[in-house]
């Protein structure tokens, strides 16, 4: 389903009024430091032109429609992405529905419908390798071709990497790769914050409770990108906004060993007593503590968890 331009404009009219817009377009998964740098340019240019600054993004990752078999796991869920985009100070985020029908839209049609009709586009700021529309046929050259007729400017940004090739540009892919290696510190450095996942606390096996370490079994959407299995120092935020330090275990369900299977997230909140069942929990990963292991007996497990908790507490100070 394609929503016409006027209806799209209605969804952001409160924020942009009758102004024209300087926009950037993309999946914006993670809203990382690279994204933030682009948005800063959009805001600055919009300010100069007396235009509104707008991020155009999609209600799901385009790859999940175009190539579902190899779609990346998500660094942010849709609600989290909107919150983070709002925190950048951009005037509005236009969320364009992206389904099978929308994925076959000709690039020029997308420009007319979303940029011209909905946003009266005044400027487009995107990475120089930006592609959009059916079969990724749209690019900076096409935007330039259409810019004269519709009176907007196109500003391609070079992706900056250090000349010696040591640092690749900050990208969602690089962040996912760091997380896959358990390197949450590096992920934090690229995100500009700690990687956070959200989920509802479900019924766990209650095993932790019997040995003095109750855990919340946080049910995370399988589309979410989780760090490598292991034990982490983390911070948890409850629905009432209260924060607790936590030791988090990510591991496979014992009966499944397939790597494709989604890991189970169990959080032991420090200095917390209460029932979390059914509550929404946010967990952000601060530091990798250790690989996941099976223990011979309950005594070893208890001793290990004591060590983990002390370690997490020290790491989070």
């Amino acid at each position: 389903m394609k929503i016409v331009g006027a209806a799209l404009r209605n969804s952001v009219v409160d924020a942009i009024g009758d102004r024209r817009c300087v926009v950037t377009i993309g999946a914006y998964d993670g809203v990382h430091l690279g994204h933030r740098a682009v948005i800063a340019q959009v805001r600055a240019r919009a300010g100069e032109l007396g235009a509104a600054s707008v991020v155009v993004t999609f209600d799901r990752h385009p790859a999940s429609v175009v190539r579902p078999e190899s779609a990346p796991k998500l660094l942010t869920d849709p609600a989290q992405k909107l919150e983070l985009l709002e925190s950048t100070g951009v005037d509005a985020t236009l969320v364009v529905p992206f389904d099978a029908a929308a994925s076959t839209e000709a690039p020029a049609d997308f420009v007319r419908r979303v940029l011209v009709d909905a946003l009266a586009v005044r400027g487009v700021i995107v990475g120089e390798d930006f592609h959009f529309g059916h079969k990724r046929g749209g690019n900076v050259a096409l935007l330039r071709e259409m810019s004269a007729q519709h009176d907007f400017e196109v500003v391609p940004l070079r992706l900056v990497a250090r000349a010696d090739g040591v640092d690749e540009p900050v990208s969602s892919t690089a962040i996912r790769r760091a997380l896959a290696g358990g390197d949450v510190k590096r992920a934090s450095a690229m995100l500009g914050r700690d990687h956070e996942v959200r989920g509802t606390v479900g019924k766990g096996d209650q095993r932790g409770r019997t040995i003095g370490f109750p855990t919340a079994n946080v049910e995370v959407d399988p589309a979410t990108c989780l760090p490598a299995d292991g034990v982490y120092a983390a911070r948890a935020v409850l629905p009432d906004g209260k924060r607790h330090d936590a030791a988090v275990n990510l591991g496979r369900r014992p009966t499944f060993h397939d790597r494709a299977d989604h890991s189970l997230l169990e959080a032991h909140l420090l200095d917390f007593a209460g029932d979390l069942y059914g509550k929404q929990l946010r967990v952000s990963f601060v530091l990798f503590l250790r690989s996941e292991r099976k223990f011979a007996g309950v005594d070893d497990l208890r001793a290990q968890l004591q060590h983990d908790v002390a370690h997490a507490r020290a790491a989070l100070q």
Binding site: E168, R177, A178, G181, K185, R186, L289, R290, S291, A314
Partner: protein, 306 residues
């Protein structure tokens, strides 16, 4: 002249193109990163393509641990022609008519070459016998006795049909094997088991451990492959014989002095097991190995490695 200290540390996972030697890849990365110390895990023949893991700077001290990972290959076995090198780069040294070869027969033979097997290394190889490389001896026309070595073939899949190439039957194979296995030899042994001769062509290393060609986060071209952190590379080794642990500042100070430790992050540990040790900033500081009663340093990094 004062040598420039190593400044670039980490790993690059490369998809080696055909025609480049493993040494060419190393030389190219040495220039790209302007880093003197570069080493790779496991040579790939010039004609072969696929995953090569390369370490830079202080990370070269860790490459030994990646060398032992299982490797997966695809290739084609050409039956009816033996070559001097066991692959398509050598001269044909023997032929026979194997045109009536059936797929079932190949599968049966492949099954016999699955599991723990003994393998005689090829004459054209970098192995040393009596202080000389075998390929040097072979180039002079010599041949020496080579002791068979145990290798493990975890998986030996034979393709869906027998194709023809210049009247020779050709079968695609997909093999996962232990480090140190010669796939060329596997092809030659397959020919032998089937009462003829064979050689290997189009060898492609599809994976080293978890590092796969073609997947999003994996091997890329020599000029594009990103530098990866030692921590994220080494954590892929997490398994039965290696765990990753982080330690507090006091323990990190002991480790910097190369001290043995009675416990290390995780309770227990069998003799020989390895621990990758991180500091409180999650930088890699050492690899420890479990001795009979305590943990002993295997490698201590000169500086924490991000």
């Amino acid at each position: 002249m004062v040598r420039k200290p190593a400044s670039v540390h980490g790993f690059v996972v490369v998809d080696k193109p055909t025609g480049m030697t493993s040494h060419d890849v190393v030389a190219r990365l040495r220039r790209r990163f302007n880093e003197r110390r570069v080493g790779h895990s496991g040579t790939l023949d010039p004609d072969a393509t696929g995953v090569l893991i390369v370490a830079l700077g202080n990370a070269t001290r860790l490459i030994q641990f990646l060398g032992g990972l299982p490797k997966s290959y695809t290739g084609e076995v050409v039956f009816g022609a033996a070559t001097s090198t066991l692959d398509a780069s050598g001269e044909v040294v023997a032929t026979c008519d194997m045109s009536s070869l059936s797929l079932d027969a190949v599968r049966t033979a492949a099954a016999r070459l699955t599991g723990e097997i003994m393998q005689v290394p090829p004459m054209v190889s970098a192995l040393k016998v009596g202080g000389r490389r075998l390929h040097e001896i072979a180039r002079e026309g010599g041949e020496v006795e080579r002791a068979p070595r145990p290798v493990t073939i975890h998986r030996f899949v034979v393709g869906g049909e027998v194709e023809r190439s210049n009247e020779n039957p050709v079968v695609a194979i997909d093999v996962t094997c232990s480090s140190g296995t010669y796939v060329r030899t596997l092809a030659a042994d397959l020919g032998d088991l089937l009462g003829g001769v064979a050689h290997l062509r189009n060898l492609r290393r599809r994976a080293i451990g978890d590092f796969v060609v073609g997947a999003e986060h994996d091997a890329r071209s020599v000029d594009e492959a990103p530098l990866r952190s030692a921590v994220s590379m080494m954590s892929h080794l997490d398994g039965v014989n290696m765990a990753v642990v982080s330690v507090d500042d006091d323990t990190a100070a002991k480790i910097a002095n190369g001290r043995a430790l009675s416990s290390l992050g995780i309770i227990g540990g069998r003799e020989g097991e390895l621990r990758v040790v991180l500091n409180t900033r999650n930088e890699l500081i050492a690899i420890y190995r479990r001795a009979s009663t305590d943990w002993k340093p295997e490698v201590v990094m000169p500086a924490p490695l991000a």
